[in-house]
Structure formats: structure tokens, C-alpha cells
């Protein structure tokens, strides 16, 4: 048995025979020719053929991995049309009196070099895209277009590196796994493998490729990035078990998609997702969350070098609301301060930032920042089902002030003739012991509560959550915390509000039953935990 290690880009286990993917011999000869016009004509024809092939690859990708991932081939088609690229090819043919193949290869090297020399690893990986399209033109020029068909058996495809178009061209039903000696996890090939749900390990190193041959038996562990060639019995048994468990888990989760979050005795609960950027919406929908229970608006501030404008914010909120198509979207207003610092806010350095100038405290003392955000939120409210919640609440007067600001902003917008939804729910985070203790009074003011268990734990147990040395004292299941949550739930329901949990504890399935018994109405968790929590809910029987 020989073990190799690379980087796993899709977690799954595959076992089978190795097939070494051979690239065509692309050694390009420089041939002198006087007939430049003929060479340029050949390039045009090869480009035309390449575009047609890319169109059919794009169509295949569209069916197999979806539009977002198929777009790269549209980009490839556009790269083929790039003026600079084409001028460079023609210039070389004209000025050096050389063959088309050579001109394309030199141009490809130059452009790939430009990308490779950029300081951003994502852009460096684009060099592979330039090479991919150029090799396609060259293949068409030389008449060596492969159809990517493999043998009859399912194989573990091993290659030096795979271009995106090579990856998608492989027959998915015949590929057990991809293993490449080189390549980065930023490459489109890695992204495609992930979306094709095929275990893939990249960057295993050249030694691997020189030591394997077609037909060798191997096991690929996409979780750990390990490859075992000619595995021993013990390893085979272990990984077979791992493969079975993983397949069972995936099957279970797949069967849970579209199912209700309901206990055996018929109690229903909402399971929403927490996200921190517009880019995460895909994961929310993929995992079948019923809504967004916590949208952290901080990203808009953290990503900017100055205060985000009302317009910028409006577009971001509108996009989230539209993408969720009528499902609940709860956006938390600015929660800057403490561990999340932004230079342009000009916040003073504090001795004790967790207990300092943060979140709602900034919003209420610097109303211009808060108002800009509220205006953007209410303007976006007509595009979906919006909820707004305020973080770090400790008193009735803070809530009253925040609500008054909402009222002002709404009136102002209406006066300006801008439509505002009348069904926006307003809520607060319960993340301080103070808020939980006076939750009876707070519930009368708002539509909902959302318990932020991370801060609630830190403040209740007086335990800094950033200090690893006191982790043993930071018992997230501490009775004090559970009592505060229970108390908040009772007070919410008595006073006509609903209550959810959006902290890490919401995904802790050892507590799901406890939360259901408390009457929690909603759990908001990371997108990848939605189905796991649903599974837990569906196995609970509250009548027992």
C-alpha cells in the first residue's frame, strides 16, 4: 500500500481502478510560412469550431452543474473573442511569418504569464483558463479534438492537471473521482468537481503520477485528501465503512429535503438559516431552509473603506429579499464593535470592548448611520418578507428609541412617495441577561425575539469567548442560560411575540428537544445544519 496526500475538494469516498488521463501531445513546432493570410484564416476557422464546442460544453455544464458554474464556459467563449488576444495572434503571424499553432501558443503563454504574475491567487488561477482555450484552438488547428470518452468501467481519473473543459467533458457516469498532481482549490476544475458531487483530491504532487499506472486499484478519501494505492485490508475495511456511513447520511439528508420540520406528535417549528453575505443565499436554498433567521448586515460595513451608501445597502437587501422569494428574511442591523472593528467608524480603543461601545449603542448615539441603514431596509421591504432586528438590547428605552426611529424613517419615506411594506416585523436580539430578565416588558413592544446564545453565554457566565484558556468554564449548556431562554420564551408567548434562537446553540441537536419543550418557534442555523436539525426534530416525540 502507498499513501499520497493532497487537498480534498469534495468530501466523499471512492474506490476503483485508476485511469491516467493523457493530454494530447501539444509540442508546438515553429514553422516558417510566407502565407500569413492562410494562417489567419486557419485561426478563424479553428476559433469558430472551438466556439461551437464550447457552446455544447456550456450546454452540458448547464444541465449537470447549473448556470452559475456553467458561466465559466461562456467566459471562455468571450475570451476567444477578446481583441487583445486575437490581435496578438495575428501580429505574431504577420510579423514573424510563422504558423498559426505557434502564434496561438506564444500568445497563450504571454497572457497566462500576465495572470500568473498577479498577486491575487484567484487571478493566478485564471492562467489555466487562458491555456485551456488556447489548447482548444490548437487542437482544432491540428485536428486533434478529443471527445473525452473513457472506457466502459467507472474509473478514478488521475491527471497532471485538468482544465475546466476537460473536467466537464468527462462522462460523469464513468468517473469515480478526480485526482490531480497540481491545480489549486480556487480553480474552476475544483469548483466543478464540487458541484458535480464527485470526490476530488488536488495537488497530490508529481511523484504520485510517476508511480501509478492504468488499472491500479486505489481508494480516494475526499474528506482527508488521502489516496491509498493498492490499499491493505484494514484500510479498505475502514474506508468502506466510512463510505457507507457518508452515503447513508447524504441519502438521509436528500430524503429530508422538502419535508416539514415536524415532531412525531405533530409539533411544527421553523428552521431558518444564518448568513453573513449575499453570496451565501445559494447554500440557504440548496439546504432547503425555510427562511433567513439572521442576516448579518455587518459585511456591508466590514467590506467597505467608508460608510456604505443607502443605495449600496438597498441593492444588497433587495437582492436577498428577491432571491428568497417571499420567504422570511430577518436582517440584523449593524453589529459593529467588540470583536468586529472598522477603521472609518473611528472607534476609540477600549479596555473592555465586549462591554463597550457597540451595536445598538452606536446606532442610537450616531443616528445618521442608523437612519441610512433603516431607510435602505424599509425601501427594500416591498421586495419580500422582511424582518428587522436590533442587537445588544438591554433596556425598554433602547427598544422604544429604535422603534421611534423606524417610525420616523417610514413616515419620511412615505412623504417622499416611496412605498414601504406595512408587514415588516420588528424584533430584538436576546443576548444580554438584562434583556432576558425584562423580556416580559420587551415582548410587549416587538413582534419577535431572537436569542443570540453566543453573547448570552459570554455575558451570563462572565466568560470571554475569545479566550481559549477559560473554555472549560464556558459551559454552553449551563442551567442559567437555559433558564434565561425558557423565561424569554414564556414571556414572549404571554405577550404576543414569537421567539427564535440564532446562536450556535440552535444547531446543537442534543438540545433540540429541550428547545421544543420550551416552545421555541424557530431555530436559525448555518445552512449546512438545516437538514441535520430537521432530522433531529422529526425524531422527537414530545408526547412521551
Amino acid at each position: 500500500m502507498t499513501k499520497y496526500t493532497g487537498k480534498g475538494v469534495y468530501g466523499a469516498v471512492a474506490m476503483g481502478k485508476i485511469s491516467v488521463f493523457k493530454k494530447q501531445d501539444t509540442a508546438i513546432k515553429r514553422i516558417h510560412t510566407e502565407d500569413s493570410e492562410e494562417e489567419k484564416k486557419r485561426v478563424a476557422e479553428a476559433k469558430q469550431a472551438a466556439t461551437e464546442q464550447l457552446q455544447s460544453i456550456y450546454d452540458k455544464a448547464l444541465r449537470e452543474v447549473g448556470e452559475t458554474n456553467a458561466q465559466i464556459f461562456e467566459i471562455h467563449m468571450m475570451m476567444l473573442e477578446d481583441d487583445d488576444y486575437n490581435e496578438s495572434i495575428e501580429n505574431i503571424i504577420d510579423s514573424q511569418k510563422v504558423n498559426a499553432e505557434y502564434a496561438v501558443a506564444v500568445t497563450a503563454d504571454n497572457f497566462a504569464e500576465m495572470f500568473a504574475s498577479m498577486d491575487d491567487p484567484y487571478m493566478q488561477a485564471r492562467a489555466a483558463d487562458v491555456k485551456d482555450i488556447s489548447n482548444r484552438i490548437i487542437a482544432n488547428l491540428t485536428g486533434n479534438v478529443s471527445d473525452g470518452s473513457a472506457g466502459d468501467d467507472k474509473m478514478i481519473v488521475c491527471a497532471d492537471d485538468l482544465a475546466p473543459s476537460e473536467t466537464i467533458s468527462l462522462d460523469k457516469d464513468k468517473v469515480l473521482a478526480f485526482v490531480t498532481a497540481h491545480g489549486s482549490s480556487n480553480s474552476h476544475t475544483a469548483i466543478l468537481a464540487r458541484n458535480m458531487n464527485i470526490p476530488a483530491v488536488i495537488g497530490v504532487g508529481s511523484k504520485f503520477l510517476s508511480e501509478i499506472k492504468d488499472g491500479d486499484f486505489a481508494i480516494v478519501d475526499g474528506f482527508t485528501g488521502e489516496i491509498f494505492v493498492d490499499p491493505d485490508e484494514k484500510t479498505t475495511a475502514e474506508l468502506t465503512a466510512k463510505q457507507k456511513a457518508d452515503e447513508e447520511k447524504k441519502r438521509l439528508l436528500q430524503t429530508l429535503k422538502g419535508k416539514e420540520n415536524v415532531t412525531k406528535d405533530g409539533k411544527k417549528i421553523n428552521i431558518y438559516a444564518n448568513i453573513g453575505s449575499v453570496d451565501n443565499i445559494g447554500a440557504v436554498l440548496l439546504n432547503d431552509a425555510g427562511g433567513i433567521g439572521l442576516f448579518r448586515s455587518e459585511f456591508l460595513y466590514l467590506e467597505n473603506s467608508d460608510f456604505p451608501t443607502e443605495e449600496q445597502q438597498f441593492h444588497a437587501y433587495k437582492r436577498v429579499l428577491e432571491s428568497m422569494a417571499g420567504k422570511k428574511v430577518i436582517i440584523r442591523t449593524l453589529d459593529i464593535g467588540a470583536d468586529k472593528q472598522v477603521d472609518y467608524f473611528g472607534l476609540k480603543k477600549e479596555e473592555n470592548p465586549a462591554l463597550g461601545y457597540r451595536a445598538i449603542r452606536i446606532c442610537l448615539t450616531r443616528p445618521e448611520i442608523f437612519k441610512t441603514q433603516l431607510r435602505a431596509l424599509f425601501r427594500a421591504s416591498v421586495y419580500g418578507n422582511l424582518g428587522i432586528m436590533f442587537p445588544m438590547i438591554t433596556s425598554v428605552s433602547e427598544v422604544e428609541k429604535a422603534l421611534a426611529m423606524c417610525g420616523e424613517v417610514k413616515a419620511e419615506l412615505k412623504e417622499q412617495g416611496i412605498t414601504v411594506s406595512d408587514s415588516v416585523e420588528l424584533g430584538i436580539m436576546i443576548e444580554t441577561p438584562a434583556a432576558a430578565i425584562i423580556s416580559d416588558k420587551l415582548a410587549k413592544l416587538v413582534d419577535f425575539f431572537s436569542v443570540g446564545t453566543n453573547d448570552l453565554t459570554q455575558y451570563t457566565l462572565a466568560c470571554d469567548r475569545q479566550n481559549p484558556d477559560i473554555e472549560q468554564f464556558c459551559d454552553t449548556h449551563h442551567e442559567a442560560i437555559l433558564r434565561l431562554i425558557e423565561m424569554s420564551a414564556e414571556n414572549a408567548h404571554k405577550n404576543g411575540a414569537w421567539i427564535g434562537i440564532c446562536g450556535e446553540l440552535a444547531a446543537d441537536t442534543t438540545l433540540t428537544e429541550t428547545f421544543l419543550r420550551m416552545g421555541i418557534d424557530e431555530l436559525s442555523v448555518s445552512p449546512t445544519f438545516v437538514l441535520k436539525v430537521r432530522d433531529a426534530v422529526r425524531n422527537i416525540d414530545l408526547s412521551k
Binding site: T68, Q71, I72, E74, I75, M78, M79, E81, D82, D83, D84, Y85, F111, M114, F115, M118, D119, D120, Y122, M123, R126, D129, V130, S277, D279, L300, E303, N304, S305, D306, P308, E311, Q312, H315, R319
Partner: protein, 85 residues
């Protein structure tokens, strides 16, 4: 000539996909549209040059449109930046 400046908020900046979409958008217009970052200016319709500019989150770029339909072009590009970048 129409000009506007914009600071990129998108996490990954003008990477392959948005660059492709942006170049496509600019091609809809007759006007010559250029984008400038740190003293380097390229034609927006030239995809590879646009990607080569390496525009990242937090970078401020200046877009200039010049031609018969410059008003429309500038407006459309501005909307594109605000919506996706």
C-alpha cells in the same frame, strides 16, 4: 464624456464572471468605455485586460464613457456596478 467613480464592495472583486458580464454590458453601447485603477486604464470590452487589472474589494475605480450614447452607457454601467460589485 461621462465619468463616475465606484468603490468595489463585492468580496472577490472583478473576477472572471463579473468581468465577463461587465464586458458584455459595455459591448451593448457604441461609446468607448474605459475603467481606470491606480493610473492604469483599459477598455472595458477587453475582457482579459479587464481581468488583468485585478480589481479587488475596496479598490476605487473610475469609469469613463465617451461617444454618441455615453449617457445611457454610463448609467447602465453604474447600475451594473451598484448591483453586482
Amino acid at each position: 464624456m461621462k465619468t463616475f467613480s465606484y468603490t468595489i464592495t463585492d468580496e472577490v472583486g472583478i473576477h472572471a464572471r463579473p468581468a465577463g458580464l461587465l464586458a458584455k454590458k459595455a459591448k451593448e453601447f457604441e461609446s468607448v468605455c474605459t475603467i481606470e485603477k491606480g493610473g492604469k486604464s483599459v477598455n472595458i470590452t477587453k475582457l482579459m485586460a479587464l481581468m488583468g487589472l485585478g480589481v479587488k474589494q475596496g479598490d476605487t475605480v473610475t469609469v469613463t464613457c465617451e461617444g454618441a450614447d455615453e449617457d445611457k452607457a454610463s448609467e447602465a454601467l453604474k447600475a451594473f456596478f451598484e448591483e453586482t460589485l
